[in-house]
């Protein structure tokens, strides 16, 4: 699905967006009962470097300042973080962290934040965009990952065909939407273009999640069986220890 097709399907009542430098999408659109949503994005298969992260963060802060409470929909068709020595020299980790924090601040101040993956997103760029949002869905063609399988094979020194076999039994390491769903990283796939605008309006009407529910989702789907329980046991032991302190 192209960006234009996606925008038309999501917002049949109208949208006005532009793509700025570094693949940053920005604009507004109309949804539901003639309500306005802020549209942001990282598109055109662009890797996320220091300039892009800073520009996107500025847009998020602008929305918080000037459009309190307006829902933010983030469209994603990107790459990983930009792999340049110069970006790392300048502190790319701080730029990605800043963007992550801006999205989380928007949530804390009552903005709905909803991501739609319609292409690739990977590694640190995924942490700073899609995974920093309250809700994350994909449309067909969405392809989230940490690292591609040949690279994982190189780093882990395991043969590619063995990894491919292992990936059939567990969703915990291999790339792609088929593995992001069962672990709870991506909540839903919106398959049918005709239903996109209704799905979006319905998702934005739901009460804003006040707690991170991804571990519970991964447990319910059978793809991430331990995370929720381990976190709960640590909290429990911390409470017990405080009582004895």
């Amino acid at each position: 699905m192209t960006r234009a097709e996606l925008l038309d399907a999501l917002f049949p009542a109208g949208h006005a967006t532009r793509v700025e430098a570094d693949g940053i999408l920005v604009g507004t659109a109309t949804y539901g009962q003639n309500e306005t949503v802020a549209v942001l994005g990282l598109v055109e298969q662009t890797p996320l470097g220091v300039e892009g992260a800073l520009a996107l963060a500025e847009h998020v802060l602008e929305i918080i300042r000037h459009s309190p409470g307006r829902p933010i929909v983030v469209l994603i068709d990107a790459q990983s973080q930009r792999m340049r020595r110069r970006d790392e020299l300048l502190g790319l980790n701080e730029y990605l962290a800043h963007l992550t924090k801006c999205f989380l601040l928007a949530s804390q101040r009552g903005h709905r934040t909803l991501g739609i993956i319609f292409g690739r997103i990977a590694a640190g760029a995924f942490i700073a965009t899609g995974l920093a949002l309250d809700q994350l869905v994909a449309v067909p063609g969405g392809d989230p990952m940490v690292m591609d399988l040949p690279s994982i094979a190189r780093v882990t020194k395991l043969p590619l065909d063995r990894l491919e076999t292992l990936a059939k039994d567990t969703p915990v390491f291999a790339p792609g939407l088929a593995h992001a769903l069962p672990i709870g990283a991506v909540q839903e796939v919106w398959e049918n273009p005709v239903e996109l605008s209704a799905k979006l309006a319905a998702a934005l009407q739901e009460p804003r999640p006040t707690r991170d529910e991804r571990a519970a989702l991964g447990l319910a789907r059978g793809g991430r069986l331990h995370a929720a329980e381990i976190a709960r046991r640590v909290e429990q032991e911390a409470v017990a220890a405080a009582a004895h302190d």
Binding site: V50, E51, A57, L61, R65, Q81, M83, R84, R85, R86, E88, L90, G91, L92, N93, L96, A97, H98, T100, K101, L104, L105, A123, G124, F126, I127, L131, A132, V146, M147, S151, I152, R154, V155, T156, L158, L166, D169, V172, F173, I183, A185, D212, A215, G218, L225, H226, A227, E229, I230, A231, R232, R233, V234, E235, E237, A238, V239, A242, D245
Partner: protein, 312 residues
């Protein structure tokens, strides 16, 4: 359970194990571990890859005291799987931060969390659940900060703070780093593999250090405090930061961080190597930053405007 921690033999943060760092960092005999090794919370995924497990999955979490004040602590063990975030490893830190977020207001509750980061990033054998754990950690960390909890990252271990660990460090209220504390998102080897040795020659050690190392991070403002490679030096730096005021997590702080990072790009965005940055900063010892002793370096860093700010 109370743990009998073994003190470090050398006192070097870099050389110490995670347990030795906790032992030297906290007041003696005050550490209480949660979900310790006897609980055997091991990774359920490593056996698939014929890899050995660790009874703490490479991270120790608990509470203790720092100069009499209650603190929560998490320490990654860089010698086990590179200190990487797997499902269990990450969930232990999520649990600790959620406890900090939800219980900070009680009389005896810790209002500070010390994160002893020592990590190559996401554990690739558990890449998807490890990455999701990093995202959950960041969310819990930011929620704890918004509730008024101080979160301090301490970076100076063998594995540095790479990948998601580098992003996590920059989400903390404050960062302490030593010269050995390398931080970046993509590691030099990853950049070389993807982009070629002409982009980043990972075997050029001086280049790697001046690109990702603690001195560079401190001068640019990526870390608010610089420690010598001694456990007591990290302890002193953490105490000084906790006493010196902690930035709130709010719109004002993030607006200042936006301005700070924009200014960095404006001033140094055209620089390709660290010495060009030092020259533009007009540092007196621009040519020999790498050679400066810790005390001399610290003086320069403390006088450098870009290195000192309240916006994180």
């Amino acid at each position: 359970m109370k743990n009998a921690l073994v003190p470090s033999r050398t006192g070097s943060w870099y050389e110490a194990t995670a347990r030795e760092r906790i032992s030297g960092l906290l007041d003696a005999g005050t550490f209480h571990e949660f979900l310790g090794p006897t609980a055997r919370a091991v990774s359920p995924h490593l056996a698939l890859f014929d890899l050995p497990e660790a009874f703490d999955d490479g991270i120790i979490v608990g509470r203790g005291k720092l100069q009499g004040r209650a603190v929560l602590v998490a320490a990654q063990e860089g010698r086990f799987m590179g200190g990487t975030f797997g499902e269990v490893h990450g969930a232990k830190l999520v649990g600790l931060l959620r406890y900090a977020r939800d219980h900070h207001a009680e009389a005896t509750s810790p209002r500070a969390v010390l994160l002893l980061l020592d990590t190559g990033g996401v554990r690739l054998q558990e890449a998807n659940v490890g990455e999701l754990a990093v995202s959950e950690i960041i969310r819990a960390l930011v929620e704890a900060r918004a509730a008024g909890v101080a979160v301090i990252a301490l970076v100076g271990g063998r594995a540095g703070a790479f990948g998601g660990g580098g992003i996590l460090a920059a989400c903390c209220s404050r960062v302490v780093i030593s010269e050995q504390g390398r931080t970046s998102v993509s590691g030099p080897e990853v950049i070389e593999t993807n982009m070629g040795a002409e982009e980043f020659d990972s075997l050029d050690r001086p280049l790697v250090w001046r690109t990702t190392g603690g001195k560079t991070r401190r001068l640019l403002g990526g870390a608010g405090a610089y420690a010598a490679d001694r456990i007591e030096s990290f302890r002193a730096a953490a105490l000084a930061l906790l006493d010196g005021g902690i930035p709130a997590f709010d719109l004002a702080t993030l607006a200042r961080e936006q301005a700070r990072l924009a200014e960095r790009l404006e001033k140094f965005g055209a620089c390709q190597d660290a010495p060009e940055i030092w020259q533009r900063m007009r540092l007196a010892d621009a040519a020999r930053i790498a050679d400066l002793a810790d005390e001399d370096f610290n003086q320069i860093a403390q006088a450098q405007p870009e290195a000192n700010h309240d916006a994180r």
